[in-house]
Symmetry: C2
Subunit: 287 residues, 2 copies
């Protein structure tokens, strides 16, 4: 059996009791380590789980999945995923390969917390979110703005939008690569401030008014951990905020933000008075 | 400290290791038991957690929250919620009351699996879901169709829609009430078949084509448990399917359903050939 086990968001103790039992009895334990990262190091996980962990990078999962699936028709293999297993399509691929394997490998998925729902800690109703979008690091000559089209759609329906922020782990250094050497860049994690800045920058290009400086938004960092931090404000304010270490995400508030949501979110405002003024002007009563 | 702890979806072992530690050391342990239910009985939870549990019904949470919060500024109180804590707004209310309490009561939330993400087990991409909707039990003279408007919106964007199905627990019997006695009805849980039938019925009224008999949908039951069941088919097919015991949910597929999603979902089809024919005719290549 291949067990695809969600680890939750923060640390080694966010795994479910059931998941931990499976990890302890599996023949091999893999950790998917490229679509998301936990807030603790591998050795802490290994010590707590009492198992050594094989790090599964993108290449292993996409090109060498046979190694992961070896003998999984006869014994238990655990494949650990930060957050919830199905929040990334890669794991659907893996489950599909199990189904097509000869003989087929039975799979079982253990769901866990995901940023897609943990974002409810902001006080914004999960039922009022539209399509989730991703924000990648802009470069001088690559500033993809397809996220903006989704924001236009959600905004037209008055819905909130969760923006997931880029992470770069195990990226090869291009200069070294040109010299035939493989050197990896240090990991990079997009901050709420960088995301808000890129949204403001895109607004200047696209000009449909969905990412202007006084749109209300909420930045979150390290959700589900002891050091969880939530800050609400205008996009302009969030472009200057420091939420500390990763992981960060951002929510652009929909105009249908309900009074009960507002009452909760304003408790996180950088400047509660300004927040209330904008809410009353642009959001109140739009439900 | 008030700990609001997600229990996950299926049984007593879906709580996180961290959550279990908190339950064991808290002064009192409440279980919210009206927006969702676990698939195991209270006595199994109590035996496993080694604690007696106070059932918090809607009246207790909405009208007697002071009892729940008593002394929570000085000691630890655990408030358990099936699924993820913030998937129901009631828990935002409770957290808000802690903030407004004198002295303020610190709160901490432990996220867990939610149907909102566990539905990824269908193979449908969580990033391609629009607004979530709820379906209530229709009666002879009450057939609310506001869900239909959300389906029209999501469908126009090509997005999937998760439909959450009504549960009725601790509903008073109206005849007994008229005679001055309080008798509770047995709990009722909407099935996928009932939901699909109500969607077809609403289509006949509203006629915008979003719930016609050959729209593709996926029914899920007991997600995250050993007895998890997933069935894909047309709304017509699903209106006749039996997915067994609760809890059930339904997903109406968006027209932008990607080829990779289709490849996975078709493995659950009642009639794979019919499923493929409709997919190719109405869905393929719409991304």
């Amino acid at each position: 059996m291949l067990y695809i086990i969600g680890l939750g968001l923060a640390d080694e103790k966010d795994i479910s009791v059931k998941g931990l039992e499976i990890v302890k009895r599996s023949s091999r334990v893999y950790l998917e380590a490229y679509t998301a990262v936990l807030l603790v190091e591998q050795n802490i996980l290994e010590a707590y789980y009492g198992r050594s962990i094989i790090i599964a990078d993108r290449e292993m999962v996409e090109s060498h999945s046979d190694d992961i699936l070896a003998d999984a028709d006869k014994e238990d293999v655990a494949f650990l995923v930060v957050g919830d297993p199905f929040s990334a399509t890669t794991h659907t691929d893996l489950a599909l390969r199990c189904r097509q394997h000869n003989p087929p490998i039975p799979t079982r998925t253990l769901p866990n917390a995901s940023i897609l729902t943990a974002v409810g800690a902001t006080g914004l109703s999960l039922y009022a979110f539209g399509h989730t979008v991703s924000m990648v690091f802009f470069t001088d000559d690559w500033k993809p703005s397809s996220f903006y089209d989704r924001l236009v759609e959600n905004t037209s329906l008055g819905l909130h939008t969760l923006v997931l922020l880029d992470i770069k782990v195990k990226e090869p250094n291009l200069k070294a690569m040109a010299r035939g050497r493989i050197v990896y860049e240090p990991p990079r994690f997009m901050t709420v401030a960088q995301c808000a800045s890129q949204m403001l920058e895109t607004e200047e290009e696209r000009k449909k008014g969905v990412c202007v400086g006084d749109r209300l938004a909420v930045g979150v960092a390290r959700l589900g951990s002891d050091g969880e931090k939530i800050v609400a404000g205008t996009l302009q304010e969030l472009s200057e905020v420091d939420l500390g270490p990763p992981l960060h995400s951002l929510v652009l508030c929909g105009t249908k933000m309900h009074e009960l949501e507002w009452e909760y979110v304003r408790g996180f405002a950088v400047d509660p008075e300004a927040f209330d003024t904008i809410w009353k002007r642009d959001y109140a009563g739009k439900t």
